[in-house]
C-alpha cells in the first residue's frame, strides 16, 4: 500500500500548503455575492426569479463551477510542474508503483477539492431554506461531476504540455463548453457535439429546468474518464521516452 500511496503523500505535502489552498478561500465570498445578486435582480425583475429549490441548485452549480475553474487551473500547473521535476524522475528508481506518479498527484488534488466542495455545499445548505422533497442525490451528483472532470482534464493537459499553456487551454475549453451549453435548448436531444466539447453548460441548464435527467452529467463523467485514461497514457509514454 505504501508503494502505491508514495506519490499521493508526496503530493499532499504540496497541496495542503496555505499558498496552494488560498485560492479556494475566494469561493465563499464570491458565492455569497452571487446568491445575493441573483435574489436582488430577481426581486427587481431584472433576472429570472427562481423557486427556492432552483436557487439551491443554482448555488450548488455556482460553487461547483468556481471550484472547478480553480481546481482545473491548479491541476494543470501542479501536474506539469511535479512531473518535470528531476527529483520526480529519480524517484522512479524507488520501489513504487510507476503509474501512481500520475494518479497520486491527482488524488491529492481531488481530496482537497472535494473537501472544499463539501464544505461549500454544507455552507449553502445552512444558508438557504430547503424542503424535504428536494432531490439531493441527483443535484449533488450532477454538481460534483464538473469538479471531477476539471481534475481529470487538467491532469491530461498538465501531462501534455507546460503548466501555463495547459492552464490557458483549460480555461478556454471550460468557458466555451459552459457558454455554448447554456444557450442550448434544454428540451432538445443531446447532440453529438457533446462528445467533443464537454457538456458543462448543458448539464447546468438541464439541472435548473424540470423535468431533468442526468444524461448530460453522464457524458461529462465519460469525458472525465477518457481524459484520465488519455492522461495516464501520455504520462506512461513520456516516462518511457525519458
Amino acid at each position: 500500500m505504501r508503494k502505491c500511496l508514495f506519490f499521493y503523500r508526496e503530493s499532499m505535502d504540496y497541496v495542503i500548503r496555505i499558498s496552494w489552498v488560498a485560492p479556494y478561500l475566494l469561493v465563499p465570498p464570491l458565492l455569497a455575492f452571487l446568491i445575493y445578486l441573483e435574489g436582488f435582480l430577481g426581486q427587481k425583475g431584472l433576472g429570472a426569479f427562481y423557486a427556492p429549490e432552483a436557487r439551491l441548485t443554482l448555488s450548488f452549480w455556482n460553487a461547483s463551477l468556481m471550484l472547478s475553474l480553480i481546481t482545473g487551473i491548479k491541476t494543470c500547473l501542479f501536474v506539469s510542474d511535479f512531473h518535470s521535476r528531476r527529483w520526480f524522475r529519480n524517484a522512479q528508481a524507488l520501489p513504487v508503483n510507476r503509474l501512481s506518479g500520475f494518479w497520486g498527484p491527482l488524488l491529492a488534488i481531488a481530496t482537497i477539492s472535494a473537501a472544499a466542495l463539501g464544505l461549500t455545499m454544507a455552507a449553502i445548505l445552512a444558508a438557504l431554506p430547503v424542503s424535504m422533497t428536494f432531490p439531493w442525490g441527483p443535484v449533488i451528483l450532477s454538481a460534483s461531476i464538473p469538479l471531477a472532470w476539471a481534475v481529470c482534464f487538467g491532469a491530461l493537459l498538465g501531462a501534455l504540455t507546460t503548466g501555463g499553456a495547459a492552464a490557458y487551454m483549460f480555461v478556454v475549453v471550460m468557458i466555451v463548453s459552459l457558454l455554448t451549453g447554456l444557450v442550448q435548448d434544454t428540451g432538445a436531444a443531446v447532440s453529438a457535439a457533446a462528445w467533443i466539447l464537454p457538456p458543462l453548460g448543458r448539464s447546468m441548464a438541464v439541472s435548473l429546468s424540470f423535468p431533468w435527467n442526468l444524461s448530460c452529467s453522464m457524458i461529462l463523467a465519460a469525458h472525465a474518464v477518457l481524459s484520465l485514461l488519455a492522461g495516464a497514457l501520455v504520462y506512461l509514454f513520456r516516462l518511457r521516452r525519458g
Binding site: K3, Q92, A93, P95, R241
Partner: protein
C-alpha cells in the same frame, strides 16, 4: 552466488561501443570514465528510468525497473535525489518506509544517524536551503540505514569536501560485505583504494 549486477553486451554508441561487466554479491566495482562517457546514462538505465534498448542489464535478480529489482536495489544519482522544497527528515523517513521499515523505527534510525553525523539541525530544513555537500551526505541515508542487495552510485564523492569524502568512502566500503556495489566516477581517487576492481571506460569499450 549469482552476480548482483550484470551488464552484458551493453552499448551506448558512440560513447560505449560494448560493455560486459558483472558485479558479484559482496563486491565493489568502480567504473571510471571521463565526463560525457555515458556513465550516468548507464546508471539511469540500470534504474529503469531510461530505456536500455534491449541491452542485457539485470540488477538484484531482475530487469531494470522491474518491481523485483527496485525492491532490492538502491540508487544514488548525481543530484536531485531529494526534493528541494520539502523537509529532509520527512523524505528520508518515507524512503525507509518504502523498504518495509516501520515509520517509528525509520524516524528513530534517521535521527540516530544524523546525531552520529552531527547534522541533526539539518533534518527539518529543505534541501534548497542546504549546501551541495550537506544534501549529498543526507542522500546516503536510505543506502546506509537499509541493507540493499545492489547499490549503484553515480559520482558519489562529487560535491564533498575532504572530511566528508573519507566518511562516505567508509560507508561504501562497509556496503561491500552484503551488497553488489557499482560506482560510476570520473575521478577514481579516494574510492580506488576500497574498490575490489576498477574498470575503465575507454573508446574501445571497457578495460580493467
Amino acid at each position: 552466488m549469482p552476480p548482483g549486477i550484470t551488464i552484458k553486451g551493453y552499448s551506448d554508441p558512440p560513447r560505449i561501443p560494448e560493455l560486459d561487466l558483472e558485479v558479484n554479491t559482496g563486491e565493489f566495482v568502480l567504473l571510471v570514465g571521463e565526463s560525457g562517457s555515458g556513465k550516468s546514462r548507464l546508471v539511469r538505465r540500470l534504474a529503469g528510468i531510461e530505456q536500455s534498448g534491449g541491452s542485457g542489464l539485470t540488477i538484484a535478480g531482475g530487469l531494470p525497473g522491474s518491481p523485483a529489482a527496485l525492491a532490492r536495489s538502491t540508487f544514488l544519482f548525481q543530484g536531485d535525489n531529494l526534493d528541494r522544497d520539502r523537509e529532509v527528515v520527512q523524505q528520508l523517513v518515507r524512503r525507509l518506509c518504502l523498504r518495509g521499515i516501520h515509520r517509528r523505527d525509520a524516524g528513530r534510525l534517521v535521527m540516530d544517524w544524523c546525531v552520529l553525523l552531527g547534522v541533526t539541525d539539518l533534518l527539518h530544513r529543505k534541501p534548497a536551503d542546504l549546501n551541495l555537500e550537506q544534501v549529498q551526505l543526507l542522500s546516503f541515508a536510505p543506502i546506509v540505514l537499509w541493507q540493499p542487495g545492489a547499490v549503484v552510485l553515480d559520482e558519489p564523492l562529487s560535491n564533498l569536501g575532504a572530511a566528508a569524502r573519507t566518511e562516505v568512502t567508509g560507508w561504501i566500503g562497509g556496503l561491500r560485505g552484503h551488497a553488489s556495489v557499482l560506482a560510476a566516477v570520473s575521478d577514481p581517487s579516494g574510492l580506488r583504494e576500497v574498490a575490489d576492481r576498477t574498470v575503465f571506460l575507454t573508446d574501445g569499450g571497457a578495460s580493467p
